[in-house]
Symmetry: C2
Subunit: 241 residues, 2 copies
Amino acid sequence: MTQNVYDNPEFFAGYSALPRSIHGLDGAPEWPALRAMLPELRGRRVVDLGCGFGWFCRFAREAGARQVLGIDVSENMLARAREMTSDRAIGYRRADLETLTLDDAAFDLVYSSLTLHYLDKLAVLFRQIHRTLVAGGRFVFSIEHPIYTAPDRPGWRTEDNREVWAVDRYLDEGPRTTDWLAKGVVKHHRTIATYLNLLIAAGFSILRMEEWGPTDDQVAAHPEWACERERPPFLLVAAAR
Amino acid sequence: MTQNVYDNPEFFAGYSALPRSIHGLDGAPEWPALRAMLPELRGRRVVDLGCGFGWFCRFAREAGARQVLGIDVSENMLARAREMTSDRAIGYRRADLETLTLDDAAFDLVYSSLTLHYLDKLAVLFRQIHRTLVAGGRFVFSIEHPIYTAPDRPGWRTEDNREVWAVDRYLDEGPRTTDWLAKGVVKHHRTIATYLNLLIAAGFSILRMEEWGPTDDQVAAHPEWACERERPPFLLVAAAR
């Protein structure tokens, strides 16, 4: 059973105050890069794993998707997602992604943003995702980058007025407990190789990978983001069935 | 033009004294993992890019390869490789991999060990490798891991009696000058994403990736290698045409 930290009131309050919660996709600096990895959405059936407040579900509909399903483990988030649309082509469903079952060949795109690193087990889910895609369907997702999730004590160290990111335990896969927005948030560290090899074992072809950091324009607008180019915070992957 | 550091006498002397130079493949701790990514060699035509002393070329012949070509930029290394075999099915050729041309559909396997991070430009080489492989042929290579090549000042830092690896400049691709075996050795840092996206753009399918660190048994035999599990020193990739 996945830790449902989004229904922890302290975490939910903190998460709700993040730019990406208030401003939606445009509040997420990696969104332009992730969007560029999406296939054409017009007429497609889309499922969003870890849909949160439903920003991507609404985006997909606006981009012409025929049918959109948002899945999340958090009642709090789904309640707010439901409040924000009356579009009958968007549906929401509560489920734990580790035990999720999806219909065969039911979707053209499976999307997931910053969710999979909360899951302990991925192999079964990746096989479910493969099954629920039509031939040629796409799986596009972002996760926290393994350089970011690996360390025992994640954080910057200052050396000679420069920021360096201290990596340890990179090859030691498993849970990491951090105090991000609330105490005791559990994320599951896996190497990049493990993510890719699990995808390949599930039958996917890798189409593209991005180790995301802010662009020069983004750093100019937000100088405090410059350090994110020293080590990427996010990993974006596009794969095809 | 690639820096030909192997023909620098100081570097060559230092390199010749490494375990992997004296003991060959068995002196390279990542070899069992790389070997496990190879296809069956019996009857196959094999080319080794950056063949050095020819250890892999001789291994491939012993494993039944029909014809083996070793390519390297270093005269010193090729001279020693030639001394070590009289097998007429093994040939050696001097070439700069950045300007290498290979015949179409001439090989079943292209192999490269710890060489590609010396090259400034890879896109043209990857297209050459794709062209020279038969359909279904394999490209299996190792490189220094981007976590290892990224930092401005690569090295361990000690914190609370633990070793951490200080990463910076990960997204800033380009040359890094280090003093490994000789002064001013130039390696070219690229992200993992860039390696994979260049392979995919050249037409390859990614089959497997390993972020290599020593196994528990290897650490038991060489306790000084334990830190290599904190961040992987090598990246191994298998791809198919």
